[in-house]
Amino acid sequence: MPVPSRRSMLLAAAAVLLALAGVASGRGIDETRVIAVSREEAIDSVRAFVAGTALTDDVVAEGPYDGALVRFYKVTGHHLMARVDANTGSVVGVVFLENIGQGGKVSVDSERASVAAKAFLDDHSIGWRHLEPSIEFIDHGETAEYLLQWTRRDGDLVLPEAIYVSVDAVTGKVISFADMRRPFEAPGEPSVDRPAAIAASVEVLRGAGVDGEVAIDAAELRVEFAESGDQRLVWKIRASAVVERLQQGQEIVGHWLVEVDARSGQAKIVARG
């Protein structure tokens, strides 16, 4: 991690003042979103991450932007695109487009991809051994990759700890890395169980005009975070239904992602497909 500059110290001081103002006004503040790193320091972090290479000669930093878990800078150049946590200065994402093997034959198996991904994480001191691994082969048409995920669950509860590494299926090189981890507190038991969450999601879909037979494709209990930083326990329900059957019998199927607050039972449609 780079040594804090005068500018970042000023940023941190400003953040503390904002935090105090927030507390004084009765509003909480998400400490993980406090900006403590400057754009220049974000670039330094990326340079340290890819130490010894010329990949960062032409990079520029933009942001910070509000992400789902953290506030981040985007550092972009001809050879890479990276994301840096604006609070900690850690590189939380990077893409090396040059490592994509275009038009080649798939020659890397899942075992070799897994070895490459683990070596990448070890080289950057990113802990993965306490997480549950999974691997998926993705055919992109002219290219292909293995997406390796390390996630953590507590029973059926999905915790906010996930690491993604993509390995090209032709070159065997790491194309991308994403660190989607964030500190959290034990959420306790949900007040709304799975059947009640599913019923609430169907009800909100009915209220929104979905009148076909609703299929529940998945239901996950997850720890997530509101924009304010407040930790939330939510059910994410993936549902689908035929929205139209055309004259010849062709079926048009709609998909919905419904979020149900596992404390209050309040449900809302958050995405459609």
């Binding site: 932007y65 992400g67 789902a68 878990l69 981040f72 972009t76 001809h78 695109m81 994301r83 939380v92 994402g93 893409v95 487009l97 994509i100 275009q102 993705i138 055919d139 992109h140 048409g141 002219e142 290219t143 997406l147 993604y164 194309i175 991308s176 994403a178 989607m180 879909l205 209220g207 929104a208 005009g209 979905v210 997530e224 993936r238 689908s240 929205v243 139209e244 055309l246 004259q247 010849q248 019998g249 062709q250 079926e251 048009i252 199927v253 709609g254 998909h255 919905w256 992602l257 809302k268 449609i269 958050v270 995405a271 459609r272 497909g273």
Partner: protein
């Protein structure tokens, strides 16, 4: 006599050869582009707005795509009626053809209050499909009609999945119809109900880095992850002609 005949044949041969060379020199070797060429080139983003609060509305998505392509492209966000005759109005002269709506294996749809649901199928091999009426099939289009298009985007669930015969919307667009690049998805993808659509906004803008269509697809899937906490199916992009660039704008070939 023999030498006279030989000389005559030689002279005739030389004459034919000379004429052939002249004909070759004045005949274009590539097919003529009969489409009007606009400056800047056109881009059409086909939006959909199904009724009800539970209905899929991609108006915002396509407006973001339009904004991302301007001013290098003369972009418009429109509701099409997808019979071939109608779609060709947009397809022939244009550089970008981008659709966002409900989709499935081998087809993508749009909707508006006037036209109802309209479909673009890859062929009549899609179960229950029709190429007549408001519907259209890519098999009805020719290389000459479509090859000017630079990028075709089919932004819908499972739009990149292949039929049993191996055909797929984006695959046919590139390999048979000659568009420079095509993009579709092999999974269920989601459009945000509350915030701006992350994928289309970033995908349209990444071309300015400059980045190829493949690079833009890769980068924008990562954006979806960081902004929403999930890939929402966008990691399962499928691209043909991925080395094509959006920018600088130019005509397809």
């Amino acid at each position: 006599m023999a030498s006279t005949m030989s000389a005559a044949v030689w002279s005739t041969t030389r004459l034919v050869a000379a004429v052939a060379v002249v004909v070759l020199l004045i005949t274009p070797t590539a097919p003529r582009v009969t489409a009007a060429q606009y400056s800047p080139p056109w881009a059409h983003a086909f939006r959909a707005h199904w009724p009800g609060t539970g209905g899929l509305d991609t108006t915002n998505t396509m407006n973001l795509a339009k904004q991302g392509l301007e001013p290098e492209y003369k972009a418009s966000s429109i509701n099409p009626a997808s019979a071939k005759a109608s779609m060709l109005t947009y397809a022939v002269h244009d550089a970008i053809w981008w659709m966002a709506g409900h989709a499935g294996t081998g087809f993508i749809t749009t909707y508006n209050a006037t036209n109802g649901t309209t479909v673009v199928n890859v062929s009549n091999q899609v179960p229950g499909s029709s190429c007549a009426g408001k519907n259209a099939c890519l098999t009805d289009y020719t290389f000459e009609e479509m090859h000017d298009i630079r990028v075709m985007v089919f932004q819908g669930c499972d739009s990149g999945k292949t039929l049993a015969n191996g055909d797929a919307l984006h695959k046919r667009a590139k390999q048979v119809l000659g568009v420079d690049a095509s993009v579709a998805f092999g999974a269920i993808i989601y459009f945000s109900a509350n915030t701006s659509d992350v994928w289309s906004f970033h995908f349209a803008n990444y071309g300015r880095l400059p980045t190829t269509v493949l690079g833009a697809a890769y980068y924008s899937a990562e954006d979806v992850l960081f902004y929403s906490g999930s890939y929402h199916g966008y990691k399962q992009y499928s691209v043909y002609g991925g080395s094509t660039y959006f920018f600088p704008a130019a005509y397809g070939s």
